[in-house]
């Protein structure tokens, strides 16, 4: 009987009203989930980072067509036992937009893969990289963003 009463009180103490739905902040680029990168210790390898650019959005490629545009970059953090090499960026897609009918820009849209060259010492290395991008759609642009990317490298 006491147990039943306590259960009833517990249920009544729980929030009965629905929580207000809070819209998620607008994210223009997301990093697709990735498991640990398995590499051979001491040998050059490649870690791939897969990006998804939101529908209707574009970001400048790594080599934008104008010098005033902010390129997409990924910068791995320094980590003990991990030696980063050059990053391979895909070529941009030359496109024009509603705001630039005559001028084409080198951009990324949809899914994009960045390839990070790495040489790691034997062991597990949890590290990060910073993705920097600047997104626009057909009518407006949005301030540059820095997105942290979690990386796990398992070298054997």
């Amino acid at each position: 009987m006491r147990v039943l009463t306590a259960f009833a009180m517990l249920l009544l103490a729980m929030p009965a009203m629905p929580q207000n739905f809070i819209a998620a902040p607008r994210e223009f680029v997301s990093v697709l989930p990735m498991g640990p990168a398995h590499v051979v210790a001491g040998r050059p390898a490649v870690v791939e980072v897969h990006l998804r650019i939101a529908n209707g959005m574009h970001v400048n490629s790594h080599t934008p067509s104008e010098d005033y545009l902010i390129p997409t970059t990924i910068t791995p953090a320094t980590a003990a036992g991990v030696q980063w090499g050059a990053v391979e960026y895909p070529a941009g897609e030359m496109r024009n937009f509603a705001f630039s009918a005559t001028e084409k820009f080198s951009v990324y849209t949809g899914d994009v893969t960045l390839r990070l060259r790495v040489t790691a010492r034997a062991g597990e290395h949890a590290t990060t990289a910073t993705l920097r991008y600047q997104a626009c759609d057909n009518r407006a642009c949005y301030p540059p963003k820095n997105l942290p990317v979690q990386l796990m490298i398992v070298a054997k």
């Binding site: 009833a8 739905f21 529908n55 630039s100 600047q134 057909n138 009518r139 407006a140």
Partner: protein, 215 residues
């Protein structure tokens, strides 16, 4: 026995309330997701001459648009006091004392749509300055080279109207998320119209006239 029945009743009521809360929560999430999807689909289809401009008559209709931020129309324009590219200080109050109406234009050198409208602003500023209108550009370029970038670009397009470099305070107080965004301020210091994203030249001109007291 009666006590057991009472407790059982309380438990049933509690379960019913929790069940209702769960259903209601799910329903609200569905509605919110649907709204979000609608907004996203609008984003894809929007074009420069789209109806992104808001004035006092359409402000209520735009309140549900998440990309607009809190509506500024009919409210007093927030004050700012920011550095110019030459290192001087310029405030909204000072500009208001000198001019009948203002257009506050948030832009950046990395923003291509902003650059599309800038030549229009140069022309319109010349056209409406005699009537008391002034434009002030608020640049969102990041330091340390923001001043150089702004000077270089404004010289290239011949933008002679005042520029200030935002330190993050103006974009916050005006709640600007999209670039370009412009606010049209009348003689009484109130925002009479606001446009988010690239809109047509005619729309910019109409908003300038509104700020000057026309219709």
């Amino acid at each position: 026995m009666k006590r057991n029945i009472l407790v059982a009743g309380i438990v049933i009521v509690a379960l019913a309330v929790i069940g209702w809360a769960g259903v209601e929560n799910y329903r609200q999430r569905q509605v919110a997701q649907q709204k979000q999807q609608e907004l996203e689909s609008q984003r894809v289809e929007l074009v420069p001459v789209g109806p992104r401009s808001t004035d006092a008559t359409t402000a209520d209709a735009a309140k549900g648009d998440a990309s607009m931020g809190p509506e500024m129309v009919n409210k007093a324009a927030p004050e700012f006091n920011l550095a110019t590219p030459d290192g001087a200080k310029l405030s909204l109050t000072a500009l208001r004392k000198q001019h009948k109406a203002l257009m506050v234009n948030f832009w950046a050198t990395w923003c291509v749509p902003c650059k599309v409208e800038m030549p229009w602003l140069v022309e319109l500023e010349k056209q409406y300055a005699p009537q008391g209108l002034e434009i002030v550009g608020v640049s969102e370029d990041d330091p340390p080279d923001a001043a150089d970038k702004v000077k270089k670009y404004t010289a290239k397009v011949g933008a002679g109207y005042p520029m200030v470099l935002d330190d993050g305070s103006a974009v916050k107080s005006f709640d600007v998320q999209d670039f370009p965004t412009s606010f049209y301020i009348s003689a009484d210091g109130k925002v009479v119209a606001q446009s988010v994203g690239l809109v047509g030249r005619d729309e910019i001109e109409a908003n300038m006239r509104k700020a000057l007291g026309g219709k």
